[in-house]
């Protein structure tokens, strides 16, 4: 069969090499090449769908080659429904980010072409991290991904960029190293039980690991993912990183990259250590609820648009982990759908906020006001994005948030009830943001702001279209997600609780 996933990873990787070799000063050419390559990758990812059987919950489009034979390490890739959607999320957002960031790299420490080369490298690694089915390979991508992001934040970001880049890197590295210890343990256990060490995820789920050890290993994986996701109290790097990053980088970081955390919980932490996962579930549910409420409360208190969006994301990631650890089919489906929807709605928020900031030369919410009358198109698109963030029915986030809450309620009613408060708070932070920035009298300095350019409209239109279409018609995604969810629940060994109502 055609090696779809490898091809998909290689296209942006080779593209970044091509851009790096372009002559100095040809910035426009570098941008055009980057856009073209990301569009080719998008096309390939769509063609790949033809070979994907949506009714099967297992791994598909599998490729496997020996890499480091002495340790049983393979270059093994494959996707289930969840990984497939996240890869699509990456390939769709990449060209949008490139188009939207057209003029963002001009003030960086490094050349414009370096920015776009780094974006493409990041895209390649994102495909790799979601496609890897070998735990070692996953770890390699998981860590390698940090390098392009580090340079994207540190070289092209705003005032606090060095600090934010280092904080991001150290948090992630710390989590990654904890995971490495657990990966090493898994390898040694597999060597003891199978005779030869392996990192194959399917084989590793068949290991018999003692309860005590399982808990430690679970924590190793979980903390790494919780930092990445980020879950309270591991979240403090995110607002700093996002506030310093360019909007394009923020989209890829929060929209796609942080999903590696929740994806990892679903793909690795749960199936590998089901007993430990069940043991820690109450604690994780509590952390998730804290994230939901805490993120929302802090979002209300922010004065900086980008930091506000960052805190809304912490709240939303709380919902996602809540859905995952509710361990019901609705909860898992909702959480997976949420990962995709959150990617698009955050992308819209960051991109438009970025354009607002670059026009006004300020990211303070108080500096905006009355944009509705000055720049109606920008204001309306921002409004739709905001409504999606508060999960207005008819927009995509609503479906996923609803599924998560339903799924959680059947098992942990109290958790679902508290989390619902998060929805009310979400309405509050979005509406306050909208009111202060879009409505009211035109703030001084805003009188002559230009509306969205044609390029910006082309960039944002597909995102809003996806948000609206998935709001009314999420079935195609759920059709892909559900078989995988069923499969995951089988591996973990949980079933939905029986319905309690109906008396």
């Amino acid at each position: 069969m055609f090696p779809w996933l490898t091809t998909l990873g290689l296209i942006p990787l080779i593209g970044s090499g091509v851009i790096a070799l372009l002559p100095k000063g040809r910035d426009l050419l570098a941008k055009q090449v980057a856009l073209a390559i990301s569009l080719v990758a998008l096309l390939v990812s769509l063609l790949m769908l033809a070979d994907f059987q949506k009714n099967s919950g297992g791994l598909q489009l599998v490729e496997s080659h020996n890499w480091i034979a002495s340790f049983g390490i393979k270059y093994a890739v494959g996707v289930d429904g969840i990984a497939l959607l996240l890869i699509l999320l990456a390939t769709i957002l990449a060209p949008i980010v490139i188009l939207a960031s057209w003029n963002e790299a001009e003030n960086g420490r490094f050349s414009v072409k370096a920015f776009f080369a780094l974006i493409l490298i990041l895209e390649a690694f994102m495909v790799g991290v979601f496609a890897a089915t070998d735990v070692f390979l996953f770890y390699v991508f998981f860590e390698a991904m940090l390098i392009p992001v580090y340079f994207l934040i540190g070289s092209f970001g705003g005032t606090q960029r060095s600090y934010a880049a280092v904080k991001f890197l150290l948090y992630s590295l710390f989590g990654g190293l904890l995971m490495l210890a657990a990966v090493i343990a898994l390898y040694v256990i597999s060597k003891d039980q199978f005779g030869a060490g392996t990192f194959d995820i399917t084989a590793l789920t068949k290991l018999h690991i003692g309860v005590q050890l399982q808990r430690w290993l679970f924590l190793g994986f979980f903390i790494a993912f919780a930092i990445k996701a980020p879950l309270w109290p591991f979240h403090t790097w995110l607002p700093d990183a996002v506030a310093a990053a360019t909007p394009g980088t923020a989209v890829l970081l929060v929209g796609v990259l942080d999903k590696v955390g929740t994806f990892g919980m679903l793909r690795y932490a749960l199936p590998l250590f089901p007993d430990a996962a069940k043991f820690f579930t109450p604690a994780i549910i509590v952390l998730s609820i804290i994230s939901v409420i805490y993120g929302a409360l802090l979002a209300i208190g922010q004065t900086d648009i980008k930091r506000l969006i960052a805190f809304t994301s912490i709240s939303h990631f709380g919902f996602i982990t809540l859905g995952i650890f509710a361990m019901t089919s609705q909860g898992l489906s909702g959480a997976t759908l949420y990962m995709v929807n959150h990617g698009f709605s955050t992308a819209a928020l960051f991109l438009i906020a970025g354009w607002m900031i670059s026009r006004r030369k300020s990211s303070l919410i108080s500096d905006f006001g009355g944009l509705q009358r000055v720049t109606p198109v920008m204001a309306w698109t921002f409004f739709i994005a905001g409504m999606s963030a508060l999960a207005l029915p008819g927009l995509s986030s609503f479906v996923s948030e609803f599924l998560v809450l339903v799924g959680t309620f059947t098992r942990y009613p109290w958790a679902a009830i508290i989390a619902t408060v998060g929805i009310i708070l979400a309405a509050l932070y979005v509406l306050i943001l909208v009111q202060r920035s879009l409505h009211g009298p035109i703030a001084p300095g805003n009188e002559n702001l230009p509306d969205l350019s044609r390029r910006e409209k082309y960039a944002i239109a597909p995102v809003l279209a996806v948000i609206i279409v998935l709001g009314f018609f999420p079935k195609p995604l759920l059709d892909v997600i559900n078989p995988t969810v069923v499969q995951t629940m089988q591996v973990v060994g949980v079933t939905d609780p029986a319905p309690t109502g109906g008396k």
């Binding site: 020996n66 890499w67 480091i68 034979a69 002495s70 340790f71 420490r109 770890y139 390699v140 860590e143 390698a144 390098i147 340079f151 540190g154 070289s155 960029r161 060095s162 880049a165 280092v166 890197l169 150290l170 590295l173 710390f174 190293l177 904890l178 490495l180 210890a181 090493i184 343990a185 390898y187 040694v188 060597k191 003891d192 060490g197």
Partner: protein, 510 residues
Amino acid sequence: MNFHVPVIQYAEVLPILIVLGAAVLGVLVEAFIPRSLRYVFQVVISLGSILLAFVAVVRLHGTSHVAVEGSVVVDGPTLFLQGTLLLLAIGGVLLIAERGLDTGGSAFTAHAATLPGSEAERTALASGIIQTEVFPLTLFALGGMLLFPAAGDLVTMFVALEVLSLPLYLMSGLARRRRLLSQEAALKYFLLGAFSSAFFLYGSALIYGYAGTVSLSGIREAISSNAGNDLVLLMGVALVTVGLLFKVSAVPFHAWTPDVYQGAPTPVTAFMAACTKVAAFGAILRLFYVGLSGLRWDWRPMLSGVAIVTMVLGVIWALTQTDMKRMLAYSSIAHAGFILTGVVAVNKAGLEGSLFYLAAYGFTTIGAFAIVTLVRDSTGEATHLSQWSGLARRSPLVASTFALFLLAYAGIPLTSGFVAKFAVFAAAYSSGSSALVIVGVLSSAIAAFFYIRVIVLMFFAEPKEDGPTVVVPPIMTTAAITLAASVTLVLGVMPSSVLDLIKSAARFTF
């Protein structure tokens, strides 16, 4: 009375003989060849003999034999380490031979015997003499290093230790610039080294008292048959271990490392940091895996403790450094701890992991110090960390290559350092030392901080007004850096063939 004529398998010790022979030849060159031609002769002899010796090692591949009446063991680990040492030495000699960097012509003093600041020194400098005695010294040290991991008895091990150490003491004092610092380093290294040699010798004597033999296989048998007084044995083992841990700069025997690394001419530091560690760990592996394997329940806890202290203190001290060479010195201490986690595994995986780690670490070290020689201001190398800020602006390629070496040190995937760390940690975990793995992983996290701090400095900080210039690397340094960088990458991305080689080689003969 019958005399037994020792049988010497010349073919099997050929690599050592070639290097030591070339060293003697180098001394003759110093005596008889006119000064103007010496440099060419020395470089050709050094590089040629190292290459020849490497060919000899390759031809011995697969040999597994106790040669020279039991004093030299030519087996898989010996040959792998000798091959590694020779390749590293090529890099080291290239750096030592570099003449395009320092305005004075080379990194070495014009007249080592003159007092710093004296009239004689000024005369020597004014005469424009460039000495070449460092080449035979390097070859003598290398000869000792080749013998060290092959030593089959404690006396041979001691001789190898001295042969490798004495030239290094001298070489540390040969710096052209900051000569007082360099001479202080040499003296410190010599005094502490002499102490540790005495420890080693005294320990050997005690072990001889216990076992009645100095041969490692004899000691092994004596331990398994419980031959004598355990106390004598344990004291002997402890003293011998002190001597060896000194050479790999494990805590608490590390105190010389930062001063010597900083004071010695940087090419010598590169050679010494990379090769001494490889050779000394080779000796440690043989001593503990062959001679003292029956005693593992006694020495494992001790070495585990040393490994933990070395990793933790190494990285914490490295955090506080402001000088590049001192930071690399403390990082080398921390890496000694990481390698020790592989050693204390006492299984095949531990041996394999340690061997791989040594190779990976050696090449990265050569490359890192090679780059330190490139960043200079008017007074010589600019080693203060603040002088490196904004380096990427001025020479992105040099900064990127240095970043590669730092990432390899930090153990980021797709570099050799990551595979190496994985190998030793996996070995340690499989032998039940999960505590070591946890400490190792946490130390790696701290270590990542100071390596990345340098990357931040180079890439994200503003360059200083009066900052140093980055010299365009001349050919020999370029060659050494290219060798180091390519090995660092290949061992990170495609380590399979080397791991397979190690797998087939990792068996001690005794």
